[in-house]
Every structure is written in structure tokens, then in C-alpha cells.
């Protein structure tokens, strides 16, 4: 064991820093740092910059255009990009669909789709959840009926994040009603331009448009868009759920969130003294920092472990739980650090081009809406309840 960076790791860190300094547009990083909303163009721009440098697909194997980085390098990259204010890379194509295609896709699918994910030709969104099938994915009802060389898809997906920007969607659809509900599910790739698809926005509790409903009305999908075998989609979806381990804990983002909270704690004054010197506040802050420091090591332990596949299920569930709980604790304490200025909410203040004087301190505007918005992180991606079930079942063998 050695917790210190090697010379090579330090050199890599310097390389990442230099890259970020020269290539990350401040117009983008300023927005990220001040909690403003990014446009689609902002996200596309950063995607392209990373791709140009070959640093987009950090967790892909080299043969597909990945970086081939080890766990420590990935963590360094995550730390540095987060600290510099780089946008989060939209994960649906790169981190969710791609691993499935690499393991279960046909050669044609790999050859066609993987490069398009890298070069940004395709913006993928995810068609898993349905109104009646959230954490209980197996009960999904969207149907695909085979007819000659195509499927006819009918049904509805929901919680489709950034679906308004996507030109492609990967879907779990029901191709058979026989056997257990997990059987009979297939994994389909669908063009969003296909006739019969309608996207409707869902407005979230703070008034933002981030997720969508997607309706399928006799949508014709070529059979070559089936991934793997028919009725085996559950296996592929589960593979992703239990084996997608890269940065599930969001260590870098949590570190930035902590640093930001400390900054706010130094600015906010209580009876003329910085809030961060208040013993109860500082204790709460320290508790989160200690948890985060431990979680960062848990994350690296998991990613570096040779027997990681065996542990991937419970360990990545633990990291999902802990990472989201830490983030929510940070959001909560940040909200509380603001005092009465947590209340004002001028939504336009978060959009590009808003130039009026802020209400209260400049860092206040996005805080409460982030607190509310991030209630989602313990719900989506397999709710924390689902993760707890996975952990005990695997550890207890019941």
C-alpha cells in the first residue's frame, strides 16, 4: 500500500492541468463554477475538445479509442477536471451504451456507433424507466413486435434526461410476455427522428426542463438495431447496473462541492465572524469532509482491486449510496450556510446573459435549487433502496 502519488502520476496530473488551462474555455468553466445553466453548445464544445485530445473515453479500452488509464489516472483526471470547472460529460452514450455495445453488440454496431459517440455525431439518451416501471424495471410495458425486418414499438418512456437534445435513444422494450418479467426484454437502438416518436418535457420541482417523456406510436425500428439477442436485454441492462463502476461515487464533483461550501463558509458572517469558525458548523463540515476522504479511498480501493469483478456489485452499490448521501449532505449544509438568502429564487439569474445585480451574495442564486434538484440522485440510476437490496442480497446470500 502506498497513498502517495508516484512521479509518473504527478507528471500526469501536471499534464492534465496544463491541458485544462489551455483548452477549457473560461466562458464554460465560469458557468460551471457559478452554478449557471449550460447550453447544448457548451456541452458539445467540451465534448469535442476532449475528443480532440483523445481524453473523452477514459474508461474505454484503447482499441476502441479509450485512454487506457488506470484507476489512479482516472481519479486524477476526475479531480482536475472537476476542480477546473469542466462540465460533466453527458454519460448516456459514452458510459452507459458504449460498454454494452462493446460486450454484447455486433461488430457492425461497434464499428458504426462507437466512433459516432466519440465524435459527437450521436447524442444518446436512455429509454429505461416507464411511468409504471421505475426501480422495478422488469415490469416495463413498452412493446416491440417483430414484423419482417423491423420491430414496431409502442409505449412510453419517462425520466429521459436531456432527451430534448438527443438524436438517438437506447431502449429496453418488451418482446415477449412469457416467463418471468425479466425475461422477454430486449435492448433496442432507436433513431429519435423516426416517425411516431414524441418528446414532451417534464418540468421539475424548481421549474427546470431537464427530463422528458418519450412516446412511441407505431415506431418502426430495423431489426439490425437490436443489441445482442432478443429477450436478453435484462442481462445487458443489469451488466451495466452492477459493472459500471467508473466514478459512480462522483468523488471529484463532491470535492469541488466541498471546496465551494468552505468558500461560502468563509464569506458568510455570523455576528461578524466567519461562519466556518462556528464550532457546530465546522463540525458538520468536518464530518462531511472526513466521509468524503474515506470514500475517495474506498473508490480507489475498488477500482484498483484485482478481484474487483467479484466485489463490483456490492461495492459499487455502496459507493453509489455514499456518494449521493455525501452530495446531499453538502447541498443541505450549503443551503443552510446561506441563512435567509437561501430563499430568493430568480430563475433567470441562472441563464446565460443575465446581468442584473444578484440578490444577496453572488454565490447564493443556484444553491437552493441545487439542493432540491439533487434529491433526484438518490432516486435515479437504481434508487438507494434498490442499492441496499443488492448489497444485502449479495452479502447475505439470501
Amino acid at each position: 500500500m502506498d497513498l502517495n502519488y508516484t512521479e509518473e502520476e504527478l507528471a500526469f496530473r501536471d499534464e492534465v492541468r496544463a491541458f485544462l488551462k489551455s483548452e477549457l474555455p473560461t466562458s464554460i468553466s465560469d458557468k460551471v463554477k457559478t452554478g449557471k445553466r449550460l447550453t447544448k453548445e457548451d456541452m458539445d464544445t467540451w465534448h469535442a475538445i476532449l475528443n480532440r485530445r483523445g481524453w473523452l473515453a477514459e474508461s474505454w479500452p484503447v482499441e476502441h479509442g479509450g485512454t487506457g488509464w488506470n484507476a489512479v489516472q482516472q481519479q486524477i483526471f476526475d479531480d482536475e477536471t472537476c476542480a477546473a470547472g469542466a462540465p460533466r460529460i453527458v454519460p448516456f452514450g459514452l458510459k452507459m451504451l458504449a460498454p454494452v455495445l462493446m460486450k454484447y453488440g455486433s461488430q457492425e454496431q461497434k464499428d458504426y456507433y462507437l466512433p459516432r459517440i466519440l465524435d459527437g455525431s450521436d447524442w444518446w439518451c436512455q429509454g429505461y424507466s416507464e411511468p409504471g416501471a421505475g426501480s422495478d424495471l422488469a415490469s416495463l410495458k413498452t412493446k416491440a413486435v417483430r414484423g419482417g425486418d423491423h420491430y414496431i414499438v409502442n409505449g412510453q418512456k419517462t425520466w429521459t434526461t436531456l432527451g430534448q437534445y438527443a438524436n438517438k435513444i437506447f431502449c429496453l422494450v418488451r418482446t415477449s410476455t412469457e416467463g418471468k418479467p425479466q425475461q422477454g426484454i430486449s435492448f433496442l437502438l432507436i433513431d429519435m427522428d423516426t416517425p411516431g416518436i414524441t418528446v414532451r418535457p417534464i418540468i421539475l420541482l424548481e421549474g427546470t426542463h431537464e427530463v422528458n417523456e418519450v412516446f412511441f406510436d407505431d415506431v418502426k425500428v430495423p431489426v439490425e438495431n437490436l443489441v445482442g439477442e432478443e429477450n436478453m436485454g435484462w442481462t445487458y441492462a443489469k451488466y451495466l447496473l452492477t459493472h459500471e463502476r467508473t466514478n459512480i461515487a462522483n468523488v471529484g464533483a463532491n470535492k469541488v462541492s466541498l471546496a465551494h461550501l468552505k468558500h461560502i463558509g468563509r464569506q458568510q458572517k455570523v455576528r461578524g465572524r466567519p461562519l466556518i469558525e462556528d464550532p457546530v458548523f465546522s463540525a458538520r463540515l468536518a464530518q462531511i469532509e472526513m466521509e468524503l476522504d474515506a470514500m475517495a479511498t474506498t473508490n480507489l480501493r475498488l477500482l484498483s482491486s484485482p478481484d474487483s469483478v467479484a466485489n463490483a456489485g456490492p461495492m459499487s452499490s455502496m459507493l453509489k449510496i455514499k456518494g449521493t448521501e455525501i452530495r446531499q449532505a453538502l447541498n443541505d449544509l450549503t443551503r443552510r450556510a446561506l441563512g435567509p438568502y437561501a430563499m430568493p429564487f430568480v430563475s433567470e439569474a441562472l441563464d446565460t446573459g443575465y446581468n442584473e445585480e444578484p440578490i444577496g451574495p453572488g454565490y447564493a442564486a443556484p444553491v437552493s435549487q441545487e439542493y432540491f434538484n439533487n434529491r433526484k440522485i438518490t432516486i435515479y440510476g437504481g434508487s438507494n433502496e434498490i442499492q441496499r437490496g443488492i448489497i444485502t442480497k449479495m452479502m447475505m446470500g439470501l
Partner: protein, 379 residues
């Protein structure tokens, strides 16, 4: 000791509950909240007609209630309805200070407040005051017979729709001294008063107010110069009784929506309420709501006790409402799952208000520390 409400209060409660159920759907509330005032003037007039504003003033001040349990009973129901009209700003904050400090001429205004035709707001908190009630940097300088006010007031609840602002300013003493704070009755249109209104995340309205050489007559002063703090503290105590009672109403709605969802929503073929992990968490939610309710009763019932006992009960109730409000709203959202995250479903509006109550007049940690402080004084 007696733990039953008087018949009058039970009738008030039932009447308000019925009126809100019949006339205050969530869609209308949200529409009103998005309007320019942040509430409906029409609805305000109807509340006034029903006597709900008067229920918050004592008979000698021109109302027909005004005790802690009147506030308690009324605000539980206002909470259930997620009511955005300015009861707290006009009747409990502005109104209480006016009623305590005003001379007969000044108090004549209360009739219009009770009638709903005049709105008050309390401009007390400042950009750097956090939750500290004694922190006043705004200055009141004597100027001939009158005064000149300079300073800034922050997050003034309904400050953008008030006809009169009750403004506090320091006549003497240091930034954190209780002594030396004066209160003034200031018409909203007074020269040098700049009001910037805005919405809050829970559908209320508030304002930042700049006081730039605001010249006032001697008649604007409420009570004795420099002696306004006790009245402000009492007004805030009354507002806190309202907030913790409102929180109970909000929690009850979150609870009922969640119980209903657990009963009806199916996952893996059974109602999710059959899942023991959710059952046990729901049991905790239900248990804690009863704790918050008892703390609110304690605060309402101790409003007339000597200062340390009163403020301990207030801080205790507000700290519990903060902690439990967060628990209830977060658990309600989590147990619902995604649907609770949407604007349309409704739950989130209750949850947002419940969380933001923690930011009005002091959060869990502030009130816990304040409880300790007053415990020492009481000991």
C-alpha cells in the same frame, strides 16, 4: 393543564379547513404565487371577510383572538392549504410590532390591516444579520423633529406589496446590541425607500430594501426611541409559532400524500407500502410529526411566559420543525421516487415550503444554540 381546544378554536379550525378545501386548489395557489404580488388580493379580501386576519389580533387591538393557540390553530390549516397570502408579514410581523409599540393614532391602522385593505411588512433583517435579531446596522439619525434612515434590509417578507413598512434602525449602541434599536412606521412610497421585490423558491415574495436618506416625521417613530427590540422579538416569536404550526399542516399533507402513494403505487406486483423498509421509515416520519406537533403546542402555550421560558419553547419548536420538516419532506420525496420531483405532482411545493421555513427566523442549529443560551439564563 388541559389538552383540548376551546370550542371557538375548534370552530375556527373547521371553518378554515372547509373554506380552503372548497376555495383554494393548488393550481390557483401556484398561479397566485407566480403573479406580481406573489399572492391573490382577491383571496386576501375573502380571508379578511372570514375574520382570519382579526383572529391574529387581541380584542384590545381590534381583533378577536391573538393568543398563541389562535395562531397555532389557524396556521396548521393555512399550512395544509399551502396558503401564500401575507398573514405572517402583515398581521404577525408588522401587525404585532405596531400593536405593541404604536400610540392610538398609529394603531388606528390596525382596523385596515384586519380588514385586509392595508398591508404591512416588517423590514428588520439585514444583508449581514444572518438570523441574529439584534443585528441592526441601519441607522436612524435625529434630524430636527424627525429622523433620517440609512441602510439596507434583506429578504423582507412581502416587502414588495406592503403599504407600510415597519422599519427598524439603530438609534444607539453597537451592531449587535439589543438596546438602541428603534422602529418606524414608513409608508412604502416614502422618498429614498427603494424596494426590489422577487419570488422565493417556495412561492413566497420578499424584497431587498435600500433606505437612502429616508426622512421621516417624529410621528413615524413607534414607541420609545431605541427600545423596540423586545417588541420585535415578541413579533418574531409569534411569527415562529405561526411557522411551526404551518409546518405541521405541511407535514400532514406530505404524510397523507405519501401514505396514499404507498397504499396505491405498485412495484414488483405489490403496493410499495408492503415493503417493510418503507414501513419502518414511514413509522419514523409519523412519530416525528407528533414530536413537532407537541413542540408547536408548547411554543403556542408558553408565548405569555417570561422571556427565557418563552424563547426556549420557541427555539425548541423551531429547531424541531426544522429537523423534522427536512426529514418529512426528504422522506416523502424519496418514498415517492421520481414523480415527487415534478412540478405537476404537487408534493414538491409543500416540500419546498417546509424546507424554506427553516430559513425564516432561524434554522435548526441557530435555534439549538439559542435554546442553550436561554437555558443558561433560565438556570
Amino acid at each position: 393543564m388541559d389538552f383540548t381546544h376551546t370550542e371557538d378554536r375548534t370552530m375556527l379550525k373547521d371553518m378554515v379547513a372547509r373554506f380552503i378545501a372548497d376555495n383554494y386548489p393548488l393550481e390557483d395557489r401556484n398561479k397566485a404565487a407566480e403573479g406580481s404580488d406573489g399572492f391573490s388580493r382577491d383571496m386576501w379580501a375573502r380571508f379578511a371577510e372570514l375574520g382570519l386576519i382579526g383572529a391574529l389580533f387581541s380584542e384590545e387591538d381590534g381583533g378577536f383572538g391573538g393568543a398563541g393557540f389562535d395562531i397555532n390553530v389557524l396556521f396548521e390549516e393555512l399550512g395544509r392549504g399551502l396558503v401564500v397570502e401575507p398573514f405572517i408579514a402583515s398581521a404577525l410581523l408588522g401587525g404585532s410590532v405596531l400593536a405593541q409599540l404604536g400610540n392610538d393614532d398609529q394603531k388606528a391602522l390596525i382596523t385596515d390591516v384586519v380588514a385586509g385593505s392595508t398591508l404591512l411588512a416588517l423590514a428588520h433583517g439585514e444583508p449581514d444579520s444572518y438570523y441574529d435579531l439584534a443585528h441592526v446596522e441601519t441607522t436612524a439619525m435625529s434630524d430636527g423633529d424627525g429622523f433620517v434612515l440609512n441602510g439596507r434590509k434583506a429578504v423582507v417578507l412581502n416587502g414588495d406589496s406592503a403599504d407600510y413598512l415597519v422599519v427598524t434602525a439603530r438609534a444607539a449602541g453597537g451592531t449587535w446590541d439589543e438596546d438602541g434599536i428603534s422602529a418606524f412606521l414608513v409608508p412604502a412610497g416614502t422618498g429614498g425607500v427603494e424596494i426590489r421585490g422577487y419570488p422565493t423558491i417556495d412561492g413566497q415574495h420578499a424584497a431587498e430594501i435600500v433606505l437612502d436618506n429616508v426622512r421621516l416625521d417624529a410621528s413615524a417613530l413607534l414607541g420609545e426611541s431605541g427600545k423596540a427590540y423586545p417588541a420585535v422579538e415578541m413579533a418574531v416569536a409569534r411569527a415562529n409559532v405561526a411557522l411551526v404550526s404551518e409546518a405541521i399542516g405541511l407535514m400532514e399533507v406530505c404524510r397523507d400524500m405519501t401514505l396514499e402513494y404507498l397504499r396505491t403505487r405498485k412495484q414488483f406486483g405489490v403496493p410499495i407500502g408492503k415493503f417493510q423498509a418503507l414501513q419502518h421509515r414511514m413509522a419514523t416520519v409519523l412519530t416525528e410529526i407528533e414530536q413537532a406537533r407537541s413542540a408547536a403546542i408548547n411554543a403556542a402555550g408558553r408565548l405569555d411566559l417570561p422571556r427565557a421560558e418563552r424563547e426556549k419553547a420557541i427555539s425548541s419548536a423551531k429547531a424541531l420543525a426544522g429537523r423534522i420538516g427536512r426529514l418529512v419532506s426528504e422522506e416523502a420525496i424519496q418514498m415517492h421516487g421520481g414523480i415527487a420531483m415534478t412540478w405537476e405532482y404537487g408534493l414538491a411545493h409543500y416540500a419546498k415550503r417546509l424546507i424554506m421555513i427553516d430559513h425564516q427566523f432561524g434554522d435548526v442549529d441557530y435555534h439549538t444554540a439559542r435554546f442553550v443560551e436561554f437555558s443558561r439564563q433560565a438556570a
